[in-house]
């Protein structure tokens, strides 16, 4: 009897465990295995080579540039979002009063519409004879400057798409700063900047870091903005992975790119999460 006994925790966890093993771990193992297969082959689990990884880091090859673009755009996008979202998050907590929920809804609302549809909307907005150009032409101030199909508009699209993912964790983070502490710091002689640097910012940091983590992870994986608004003036790494798995039929290269991306994002996530006290953020303590 004793040998057959399984702890009740394991028994109850087993459906989820099996689901995760089959649906999550197995594909991941397959992708990792593919990244070590001979280039442009399907010899998974039967061949072993590091050629795919060296192809990524080969400077005569252009694949590495997509990594640089993705990481660079994600970094700039995250920093811009932090700067843009902070005042809005502060306003939602302290300034907007009874309009705060309305403002929140306005920021959530676009999420109900598919991202691609919204991006095509922006194309209509900026395209030649589109909303901006048309209005300016009719006023005699045209033509509007050409902004579509550039790295800049790609960045704009990313900032636009990921704003809610920065804003709401940040708002939560700022709401975790007790007003008493801010009042006390000011009462003890602290000026506005001092109180912000010493009290508000460090205490809101968990929310800010989660926002930055979410947006940077999403932004590294961004592809639609570069395709639709950027018009492929920038090839992001996810776009490269897609190409490798489809047109190029080079699954091992695509798998190697995917594995590198997972390592970068996983490393970033672990680094940030190790600095965070998730229980405090979620109000469990």
């Amino acid at each position: 009897m004793a040998r057959l006994q399984v702890s009740s925790g394991l028994r109850y966890a087993s459906p989820v465990l099996i689901f995760l093993l089959l649906g999550f771990l197995a594909p991941l193992v397959t992708v990792v295995a593919y990244s070590f297969a001979s280039p442009k082959s399907f010899e998974v689990f039967t061949s072993f080579t590091l050629a795919n990884f060296s192809a990524v880091f080969d400077t005569t090859n252009s694949v590495w540039t997509s990594f640089v673009w993705s990481l660079g755009l994600a970094a700039v996008c995250t920093v811009l979002l932090a700067i843009i979202a902070y005042p809005i998050a502060y306003g939602l907590n302290h300034a907007f009063g009874r309009y705060a929920s309305l403002v929140s809804v306005l920021f959530v609302f676009p999420l109900f519409v598919s991202e691609n549809v919204r991006l095509y909307g922006w194309v209509q907005f900026f395209i030649k004879n589109g909303v901006v150009d048309g209005v300016l032409n009719s006023l005699g101030w045209g033509p509007a400057p050409e902004v579509l199909y550039s790295p800049g508009i790609t960045l704009f699209g990313m900032v636009y798409t990921y704003l809610p993912f920065m804003l709401f964790p940040m708002t939560l983070g700022l709401s975790m700063v007790p007003q008493d502490l801010v009042d006390a710091a000011a009462d003890l002689g602290g000026g506005r900047l001092m109180v912000w640097r010493e009290i508000e910012l460090p205490l809101a940091m968990p929310g800010i870091l989660i926002g930055m983590l979410l947006t940077s992870v999403l932004a590294v994986g961004a592809v639609a903005e570069a395709k639709i608004l950027g018009g492929q003036s920038v090839i992001t790494v996810v776009h490269d992975i897609e190409i490798a798995f489809t047109y190029a039929q080079d699954w091992p290269l695509g798998a190697a790119l995917a594995v590198l991306l997972v390592l970068i994002i996983g490393g970033l996530t672990l680094a940030v999460l190790s600095r965070l006290d998730l229980d405090r953020v979620l109000g469990r303590r």
Binding site: D183, D187, G189, I199
Partner: protein, 366 residues
């Protein structure tokens, strides 16, 4: 400590803070409505009142976190209505203590010194001094403030307030979350600290006991107004009205009316009763006679006290050094409280006579 000695010696009661007809409105609600108050230099003033009586709003106005809607607040004769908290020589100890959770005990205490750009070595020296003053070990300097116990946090908050070196320390019920025993210890420590520092303390609480133990003067607040202000003894022995009397401990109340034939007359008890009142009652023909349980005594004859009524013992409650009896006189329950050394072995339902002297009662408008 020469400053504290001279403060005690020359206790010239000069007001440090003066409030003249101060109002604070929130929308249509008067949180504070027309308070005039002199807070004397070096005194320990406690403001007591039930929740919602406006005492916290009053304190926040003194701290500079709220501006009065009307009236004037002056500090040593200078108008400070709109002087922000950080520019006032006042420091508020919050109910939540408002310790900075991401800083160590030492960093918390040093915060006001850091604000003043005092060099780190001097800051640390002062922080260690304050730790000693508040009886915390020096090793706590580097301790995570959230790992301190409730009483220790209290002391850290006090040390931080003293590091700011304010003239007036304001307290917003900082002891309310602590257990009874620790509260008793800290109440006395706080009073000692007041004596030692010679600073002005303004303390807010809804606990009568805290107010009694610590204060030089007590102000009783109700619905945004100060009902009575005076020494703890005055307020306890001569409450202004029923509200103050009841707020400061248990009372027996008899409603009386003036009758031409019998004098002051009460129908509260089983048989109608003529009562003798303290002679100084100038009020109207309807009144309430209030007698504290500890002024009630068991009587052996109907003439032992000015007023004697009869009833039956219903129950007894032990209060430690004192014992309280509930005596039923008709529909009226009367509490009699006597020292344990005088305890009587009252059997339930025993017929007794209880009484009090007129001078020990007080009378309020009905």
């Amino acid at each position: 400590m020469s400053s504290s000695e001279s403060a005690v010696a020359a206790k010239a009661p000069l007001p440090i803070l003066q409030l003249v007809d101060v109002y604070k409105r929130f929308n249509d609600f008067n949180a504070v409505s027309g308070i005039s108050l002199n807070i004397l230099d070096g005194e320990f003033l406690t403001v007591v009142g039930p929740s919602g009586s406006g005492k916290t709003t009053l304190l926040r106005m003194l701290a500079g976190m709220e501006a009065p809607s009307d009236g004037n607040i002056t500090l040593r004769g200078e108008l400070i209505n709109n002087v922000p908290a950080k520019e006032r020589p006042t420091c508020l100890v919050f109910q939540s203590l408002a310790l900075f959770p991401h800083k160590t005990v030492g960093e918390n205490i040093e915060f006001p010194l850091k604000v003043k750009n005092i060099p780190p070595a001097q800051r640390k020296a002062r922080a260690l001094e304050l730790l000693q003053m508040l009886r915390l070990p020096e090793s706590y300097y580097a301790k995570n403030v959230m790992k301190c116990s409730g009483g220790e946090k209290q002391r850290v908050a006090l040390a931080r307030a003293f590091a700011y070196d304010p003239d007036v320390l304001l307290f917003d019920e900082p002891l309310s979350a602590l257990d009874y025993k620790l509260k008793k210890v800290l109440e006395k420590e706080l009073k000692d600290l007041h004596r030692q520092s010679g600073k002005t303390f303004v303390y807010i609480t809804h606990s009568l006991e805290e107010a009694m133990v610590m204060s030089d003067r007590i102000a009783v607040m109700r619905a945004g107004k100060i009902v009575q202000i005076g020494t703890p003894e005055t307020i306890y022995a001569n409450p202004e009205d029923e509200f103050v009397a009841e707020f400061f401990g248990e009372v027996n109340k008899f409603s009386v009316s003036l009758n031409e034939e019998w004098g002051w007359f009460s129908q509260d008890t089983e048989s109608s009763l003529t009562l003798r009142l303290p002679t100084d009652w100038p009020g109207s023909e309807q009144a309430t006679v209030i007698v504290r349980p500890e002024y009630m005594r068991f009587a052996t004859s109907a003439h032992e006290f000015d007023n004697v009524i009869s009833g039956t013992v219903f129950n007894e409650y032990s209060l430690g050094s004192r014992i309280q009896y509930q005596v039923r006189c008709g529909n009226k329950s009367v509490l009699v409280e006597i020292p344990r050394t005088l305890a009587r072995n009252a059997a339930p339902d025993e017929q007794v006579m209880i009484g009090w002297n007129a001078a020990d009662a007080f009378v309020a408008e009905a």
